[in-house]
């Protein structure tokens, strides 16, 4: 049976979840930027703007401790992080380009090595996705197989209606459980007209064709053309919902410190720098090529998924205006 929830009840739901000691994360104004942050009350939630960073950090934090070490009486004592302490979490208000990201990342995080930090957070989380009505000309989720109303990755999916309420659809058991536990906040019924979606500037891309071109063009002048202007920062990767590279550093002294896992990016000059000093991706064009190859060829080859949700964040943030959608369109239109 379809359900609807009013905006006020959505905020009440957040209040209740906070009372239940759940970690509730959603778009919130933080200084001049909107970020996914813990909500302390329903009134914290803002759905006016796409958060600057994606919601992947709920599962894959910018920086997390993975163990601590301390020398005691001549021997080193290592203490693991107790992952059972990770809180039950609800991610609320993520548009399809964010809600869809864990559905892509689960594959790599549970592959040959199981990343228990990521996976434990995933097990303990419920995602409330929301249909997106505020895209701009950097968005291209449709072109990579999602859509402003795609449910992929959401446990419960909300569609904004013109009267200000939301149509709700439980997509998974987690979503059903969330509704069941707060039944009085939801009303039965299909609701009114949905708020229309925004047109996107990029047409449908032929991802199979793009992958094929990439397979045959490991060497191509295109990479130099882009890399000529790429300044090699981590902005595009850090704000991307699908990028998941990390580095591990021991920080502290040789006697007392913490091992930390934190974001890394293929834009950086030291990405893949080997201990020997050799770096297989020693120049920028090889690194930018890696970005496109990883997203549209390697990941697809290994896991059958595209490592991009078309959120357009990298396009908006790139200091030099490198436009991944434009690059994909260029490849898509190539004849050989």
């Amino acid at each position: 049976m379809p359900q609807i929830i009013t905006e006020q009840n959505l905020r009440n739901l957040i209040d209740l979840l906070v009372k239940e000691a759940k970690l509730v994360v959603g778009p919130k104004l933080s200084g001049s930027v909107v970020l996914y942050e813990p909500l302390t009350a329903g009134s914290d939630l803002t759905l006016d703007a796409l958060p600057r960073r994606s919601s992947k950090e709920l599962f894959f934090p910018i920086c997390e401790d993975i163990l601590s070490y301390k020398r005691e009486n001549g021997s080193m004592k290592v203490t693991d992080v107790d992952r059972s302490q990770f809180p039950e979490a609800v991610l609320i208000g993520a548009p399809p380009c964010d809600a869809g990201s864990p559905a892509i990342l689960d594959a790599v995080m549970s592959w040959d090595y199981k990343d228990e930090f990521y996976l434990e957070r995933r097990r303990k989380s419920t995602i409330v996705g929301i249909a997106c009505t505020k895209g701009d000309d950097a968005c291209f989720c449709r072109a990579v197989g999602l859509a402003p109303d795609a449910e992929a990755g959401s446990d419960l999916f909300l569609t904004p209606l013109k009267d200000g309420s939301y149509a709700c659809k439980a997509v998974t058991e987690k979503g059903e459980a969330l509704v069941a536990a707060h039944r009085n906040l939801f009303a039965e019924g299909a609701g009114g007209d949905p708020v229309p979606f925004v047109d996107q500037g990029v047409g449908k891309l032929d991802l199979v064709k793009i992958k094929k071109w990439l397979e045959e063009h490991f060497e191509d002048p295109l990479w130099e053309k882009i890399a000529d202007i790429c300044v090699g920062c981590g902005a595009c990767a850090f704000i991307c919902p699908a990028c998941h590279c990390f580095d591990i550093n021991d920080e502290g002294s040789t006697d007392d410190g913490v091992r930390r896992k934190h974001w890394d990016a293929c834009g950086f000059a030291k990405f893949t720098n080997h201990a020997s000093g050799h770096n297989p991706r020693d120049v920028q064009n090889k690194r930018y090529r890696n970005r496109i190859m990883h997203k549209f060829k390697y990941y697809d080859g290994k896991f059958g998924k595209t490592l991009c949700t078309g959120c357009g964040r990298c396009i908006r943030a790139c200091p030099v205006g490198i436009d991944i959608a434009e690059i994909l369109e260029t490849i898509n239109s190539k004849q050989d």
């Binding site: 200084g31 000529d228 200091p319």
Partner: protein, 314 residues
């Protein structure tokens, strides 16, 4: 050299002005490529999205005819001339499109022996201003969408270029937002000031965009990338972030040309140019020095003089 000053104060800069600058840049770029004065020109090309542009290294006449100048031409292109980034210079003399604020970086890089004037052909832009971040990009520049740095620009007329594109025109009576913000912060008690920066730096994700776009961050080995031994925590945590930004502010003191690129590119909206401006103010007060107005032999922090002010040693 510079076009004759034709100073107009207006309330909006229409696309026609930028179009005229565009034409002048194209004409010059085509000429110097044709007569082989340069091997390439660093300029701007339009982006796919409305009101966007991106840097480009053009080497042919056909490409040069597509160069543009618009309020979207925000980048300081001199970053492409430093060895850490590209080193396009090694191929020969290079042309570069430079706004007044970008010219300060060129002068600074000459001061630091990173560039030779004779290796450059500078197409100076008589620049009325560019867009700020996240604003309406309709083609017309107004008080509502102009960048913060441009509100207080003193270098609309580029000095020392080989040619200048455009005539002088600028928006009238803009509120100096940055100066006001700086005054507000300076008036804070120290603890409050510390809290202000702590809050901002806690948001830093260490994407290093601020470092990568800065023409003066050309070190091949940055202190912040070093992890054996580790000088500054490389993980994005408040303590390391604070250290990184203090180190950076100190390393840029007396060198930063004030292009505000670091601030523009920060995805976390950290007002980095306030730090730069503050350091510039110190240099002005202590050494009567302003970076990047013209190339000099040595900046004040690269040399020792017996009569240097030492009052800061306590």
């Amino acid at each position: 050299m510079n076009a004759k000053a034709n100073k107009n104060h207006v309330t909006s800069i229409e696309p026609a002005y930028y179009q005229a600058v565009t034409e002048a840049i194209r004409k010059e770029a085509v000429k110097i490529l044709k007569d082989e004065t340069v091997v390439g020109v660093v300029g701007y090309l339009p982006g796919r999205r409305q009101g966007t542009a991106s840097p480009a290294l053009v080497t042919t006449v056909e490409e040069a005819e597509k160069l543009i100048f618009s309020p979207a031409c925000v980048n300081n292109l001199s970053v492409y001339l430093t060895k850490a980034k590209k080193g396009v210079l090694k191929q020969g003399k290079v042309g570069i499109v430079a706004k007044g604020c970008d010219m300060r970086a060129l002068a600074g890089l000459m001061t630091e022996s990173q560039l030779q004037r004779e290796d450059l052909f500078i197409i100076g832009v008589v620049c009325p201003g560019v867009y700020g971040f996240g604003v309406e990009r309709t083609g017309t520049l107004t008080e509502a969408n102009i960048a913060r740095k441009c509100r207080e620009c003193t270098v609309h007329m580029p000095e020392g270029a080989d040619v200048a594109a455009g005539t002088h025109t600028e928006l009238a009576d803009l509120t100096p937002e940055e100066a006001e913000e700086m005054a507000r912060i300076e008036a804070m008690p120290q603890a409050e000031r510390w809290a202000f920066w702590k809050e901002h730096f806690s948001r830093c994700i260490r994407c290093m965009a601020c470092r990568q776009v800065c023409p003066f961050c050309y070190c091949e080995q940055c202190l912040c990338d070093k992890n054996r031994p580790q000088a500054v925590e490389s993980s994005p945590r408040p303590a390391g972030n604070m250290a990184w930004h203090l180190v950076r502010a100190m390393h840029l003191a007396g060198r930063c040309g004030g292009c505000a690129e670091c601030e523009r590119v920060c995805p976390m909206d950290i007002p980095l140019n306030l730090l730069n401006r503050r350091m510039a103010k110190e240099l002005k007060e202590l050494y009567d020095f302003e970076a990047g107005l013209a190339p000099v032999d040595k900046g004040p922090l690269n040399q020792y003089k017996e009569d240097d002010d030492q009052s800061f040693i306590k």
